[in-house]
Amino acid sequence: MYIIGKGITRKDSLEKVTGHAKYTADFETNDMLHARLVISPFGHALIKQLDLTEAQNIPGVRAIVTGDDLPLTGEEMRDRPPIAVNRVRFNGEVVAIVVADNPYLAMRGVEAIKVQYEQLPVVNSPSEALKPDAPLLHPHLDQYEKIQGVYPEPGTNIATRTKIRKGDRNKGWTESEVQVEEKFAFRISDHAAMETRCSLAQIHPNGMIEITSSSQAPFMIKKLIGQYFGIKPGSIKANTPFVGGAYGGKASIQLEILAYLATRAVGGRLVKIMNTREEDMLTSPVHIGLEAQVKLGCTKDGMLKVAEILYLWDGGAYSDKSIDLSRAGAVDCTGPYRIDHIWCDSLCMYTNHPYAAPFRGFSHSEVHFAFERTMDVLAKKLKIDPLELRYKNAILPGHTTPTQFRLNSSTVGNLPKCIEKLKELMNWQEGQVVKHGRDKVRAKGVACAWKTSTIDPDASSGVILTFNPDGSINLISGVIEIGTATKTILAQILAEKLKMDINDIYVQMDVDTVNTPEHWKTVASRGTLMAGRAVLAAADDVISQLKNLASFILRAPIGDLEVGYGKVYLKGEPNKQIPIKDIAYGYKFPNGNSIGGQIMGRGHYMMPGITNLDKETGAGKPGPEWTVGAQGVEIELDTKEYRYKILKAVTVVDIGKVINEKTATGQVKGAMSMGLSFAARETFYFDSHGTILNPQLRTYRPIRFGEHPKYEVAFVETPHIEAPYGLRGAGEHGLIGMPAALGNSLSAALSAEINYLPLIPELLWKIKGGG
C-alpha cells in the first residue's frame, strides 16, 4: 500500500489547534438579529396564558414567535409542533422565540414573557407510559402523517413497535436446559458536545432561504424544512462549517426550524440562535433512555438457543428519531451470537422527557448493556468462563442475524479472532477477580459488540474532484467534519488511488448544499464507506479523462496507460509520460492551439440491496455489513466504600482495513471514553414534575481528562469487499460494549447483578444492601 494504513496528520488539525477554525457561532455581523427561547419549566402542563405585552414593548425586540399556525414536524412521524401550542410535553419545550437587536435584549424579552401553566400528571418513564391508565401524550396519534415502516398504536403511548420474529421461541425454550432473565433500566442523558448547537437563518430578497448550522445533516435541513413548510428544495441552501462534536445529537433537525421561523418573523433578516448549555441539554434532543427485559435460554454446555426480549425506549415527548432508534435496537437486539430463535418487541414510548436524537452507536450500547450483562449472568449460572461462552456462540459467516439476513465472510467481521486477541490484552488467564490488599479487588469485565448501520435504502453520497493548475486536486464531499477525520481519510483514499502526494489534495471542509454534492448524513460510521466509494468513482472518472487526452498526446492506446505520481505514463515504458498539470486544464500545442479543457471528476455511491424490514417478522437487510468487536474493562474497587477506578479499557475491533492508524485509534479511544462516561456517571435526574434537576455541566459531568483509564486498541482486518480497501465502520464501535463491560466487571467484583446506569458508587452500595 502506498499511503493506506499510515497515520497521516489530519487536514483540519492546524486550524483547530491554533484556534483558527470557525464554527457556526463564530459568524457575527453587525446587522444580525438574535433569538432567544422561552422554554417550559415543567414536564407536562397546559399553557393557560401567554402574555407577551411587556416583552413586545421592549425597544429592540423585533418579533415574538409563538406556536400558532405552524405545521407539525418530525422525521418519521409528524407529531411535534416546533413551538408548543396550548400544552407542553417536556421540560425545555419551546413556548416562544424572542427576536431582538442583540442577545441581551432578546433575553430581556424572554424574561418579560409571562406564562401561566397548569401542571398535568407526568409520565416519567417508559414503563409508566405503558400502563393502561397512563396519561396519553398524543391523543391524536392516529392522525399524524408518517412514513412507511412506522407503526403507532393509537390510544396508547406507543409511537412505534418493531417486531423481531426469528425461528420459533417455543422450540427454543424446549431445547433450552438453562435459562436466565434479567431487567435493566437507565434514564435519558446527553451528548454534551463541546460546541452547543447554533443556527443562523435569513431569507434573501429572491426568496432563497439560507441556513447555516452546526449540523451532521445539512442536506436533511434542506429536505425537511422544504417538506414541513412547502418550500421548493432549490430555494433552501444549508451551510455547515466545522462542527465541534456531534455524536448523533446534531443529526436531528430542530434548532434550524426555529431559526427559520425567527427570520421569517422579521422579514428575512439574518437571525442567529445559539443554545445556552441548558437549552442544548433540555430543548434540543438528548440521548435516549431504556428499560429492558432479556430472557436467554441455552443448553447445559452453553449453546444459545433462544432470546426473548422486550425493549421499552424512553423516546421522550416526540418521536422524531427515536422511532428509528427503537428500530435499530431491534435489528441488533442481541449481542453478536448465533441464536436461532429470537422474539423481540422494541417499543418506542412517549414520555414527558426531552425527546431523543441518535447517540453514537445508535441504540447499540444501550441494547448491548442489557444483552451483554445477561450473557454474564448466564455464564455465571452455567459456571462457564464469560469469554468462553461468547466464543462458543460467536456469530460467523453462514449464520443469520436477528433480521434473518444470512452473513458471509464479507458482511461480518471475525469475532472469534477479536475475542482471542482481547484475551491476550486483558491477561484473562490471570482470573476475573483478584484480591488486592485488604478492601480492594481488581476485576475484569468483557462484552462483545456488533453493529450494522440502519440507514435509508436510497441514501447516497457524491464527490466532485477539480484540479488546480499545478496538478493538485480539490476534493469536495458532503461529509461533515465532525471531528472524526473522515475528510482526511477521503484524501488518503484518493492519494492511494492516484498514487499522489496527500499534500497535493485539498479537502473542502465546509459544506454548502448548493455547491457540494450530497452526502445523506454524516452518521452511522458510514462516511468512509459511502463517500470513500464516491471518491474512488470520481477518481476513476478523472483517470479515464486523463488517459483519453494523454492517449492522443502520447500516441498510445488508452489500455497501455497508467495514472500515478502526478503523471500519465506508458505501463511498459514509464519514461514516456506527460505530467498531469500539463493536461488537467487542457493541452496546449506549441503554436497555441489547445484541446481538452478542465477536468472534473464526479462519483457517487448508493449501497445496494438494503431493504425495509418486514412489519411482522422484522426480516430484511437493514445495513451493508456488521462490524464486530470484543471489549474489556479492568477496575479496582474498594469493597468497603464502593468507590472504584477504571484501570484499563480495551477494544479489539474488526475494522476491515485500517486506513489511518492514528485517527482510527483515536476514534476507538474516544468512543471508549464516551461509553465509560455514559455508563459511569452521565444521567439526567428528574423530579416528580418531570423537571430535570441537573441540566448544567456543574451537575451533569462527563468524564474528564485525568479520570480516564489506560486505553488499549487493537485491530483485526477482515475485508468488507464492497468498501474501499475493505474498510469497515469504526466511529462508534469502541463505545458499544463499554457500559456492559464496566457493568460486568463491577458485578463480578461485588458478586451481585448491577443492572442500572449510571454505575456510581451509591448504586453499588444500594445493590449491596446499603440504605
Partner: protein, 277 residues
C-alpha cells in the same frame, strides 16, 4: 451573559469601596461586591442573582495580600484559589481549595467569593473554622477583625455594605497535622458528596464539614464525641453522627443515607490517620 444594565466600579481603597456601596445603594442601584465573578455571572445568567452595580474589590491591595506578619498569616479575600495553592503558605487551605471546581475556574474564583458564595458548599471556610481565624471586615463602621466563630453561622453574617477584606490565622495553626478529604458522587470532579477537613490541635481533633448539610460548619458537639478517647473509634463516630446540626442533604449528588455512610467511613479513616501520628 446578563441581560440587565449593570454598572461596574473598581475602587482602589477600602474606604472608596465602602463609600461607593452607600452611594449606589442610595441611588437604588442594588450594589454587590464583586471579586472573581464566577458565581455572579453564572447564576446571573440563570436569573438567580440580580444586581444593578458591581463593586470589584480586586484592585484593593489589602484584599490581595498573602503572607505572614509576626503572629498571623494574612490571606486577602481577592486572592484567586490557584494563587493560594501555588504559594502554598497554608497547606490545609491549599488542600481544601484544590478540591473546589477545576483549575481553570479556580484561576478566577477568589477566597472571599468562595467564602461568601450562594452555592452552599463554601469549602474554603473549613480551614478557617478549624483554626479559629479572624475575619477582617470593612463596612460603614470601619475596618475591624472579628473572630470567625462570631461572624460565621452557616454563612457570614455581614452587615449590609460590609465585605471581607482578609482572614487572619495564627501562625501556630498553620503547620498542625491535618487531613482534608473530599468525596464525590463519582471520581475526581464535581461538588462534594461530603468534604471533611480536620486538624490535630493540642486539645484534640477538630472537624469541619461541607456538603453534609446545606451549609458548611464546624461542630463542637460532634468534636466532643469524636474526641471521646475512652470509646472505640467506630463508636465515637456513630455518636458524632447523632450530633449533626441540621438536615443531611438529599439531592442529585447523593441520598442522605448514602452521605451518612460515606461520612462514617471518612471519619473513621481520619481519626485513625490523625490519632495514629
Amino acid at each position: 451573559m446578563l441581560s440587565a444594565d449593570i454598572e461596574y466600579y473598581r475602587p482602589e481603597t477600602i474606604q472608596e469601596a465602602v463609600d461607593l456601596f452607600q452611594i449606589l445603594k442610595g441611588e437604588n442601584k442594588r450594589p454587590i461586591y464583586y471579586s472573581g465573578g464566577t458565581e455572579i455571572l453564572t447564576l446571573g445568567r440563570l436569573e438567580l442573582a440580580a444586581a444593578g452595580a458591581f463593586i470589584d474589590i480586586k484592585a484593593i491591595k489589602e484584599c490581595l495580600s498573602f503572607g505572614f506578619n509576626q503572629s498571623y498569616l494574612i490571606a486577602g479575600a481577592a486572592l484567586s484559589l490557584t494563587s493560594i495553592e501555588e504559594k502554598n503558605l497554608f497547606p490545609l487551605l491549599s488542600a481544601t481549595s484544590m478540591g473546589i471546581a477545576d483549575h481553570t475556574a479556580r484561576n478566577k474564583i477568589t477566597l472571599g467569593g468562595n467564602l461568601c458564595g450562594k452555592i452552599f458548599y463554601r469549602e474554603a471556610v473549613l480551614p478557617f473554622l478549624l483554626c479559629d481565624s479572624w475575619v477582617v471586615a470593612a463596612g460603614g463602621n470601619g475596618v475591624k477583625p472579628i473572630p470567625i466563630g462570631q461572624i460565621f453561622n452557616q454563612t457570614f453574617q455581614l452587615e449590609e455594605g460590609q465585605f471581607i477584606v482578609q482572614l487572619l490565622t495564627e501562625r501556630n495553626y498553620i503547620h498542625l497535622p491535618f487531613v482534608s478529604i473530599k468525596r464525590r458522587q463519582q471520581w475526581e470532579t464535581g461538588y462534594p458528596l461530603i468534604t471533611v477537613a480536620s486538624i490535630k490541635a493540642d486539645n484534640g481533633l477538630r472537624f469541619a464539614f461541607s456538603g453534609l448539610c446545606p451549609f458548611p460548619f464546624r461542630s463542637k458537639e460532634m468534636e466532643a464525641e469524636l474526641n471521646n478517647i475512652g470509646l472505640p473509634v467506630p463508636e465515637r463516630v456513630k455518636r458524632a453522627l447523632a450530633q449533626i446540626p441540621g438536615p443531611v442533604l438529599h439531592d442529585v449528588e447523593g441520598s442522605s443515607e448514602y452521605r451518612l455512610f460515606v461520612l462514617e467511613n471518612t471519619l473513621n479513616e481520619i481519626i485513625l490517620e490523625l490519632e495514629g501520628e
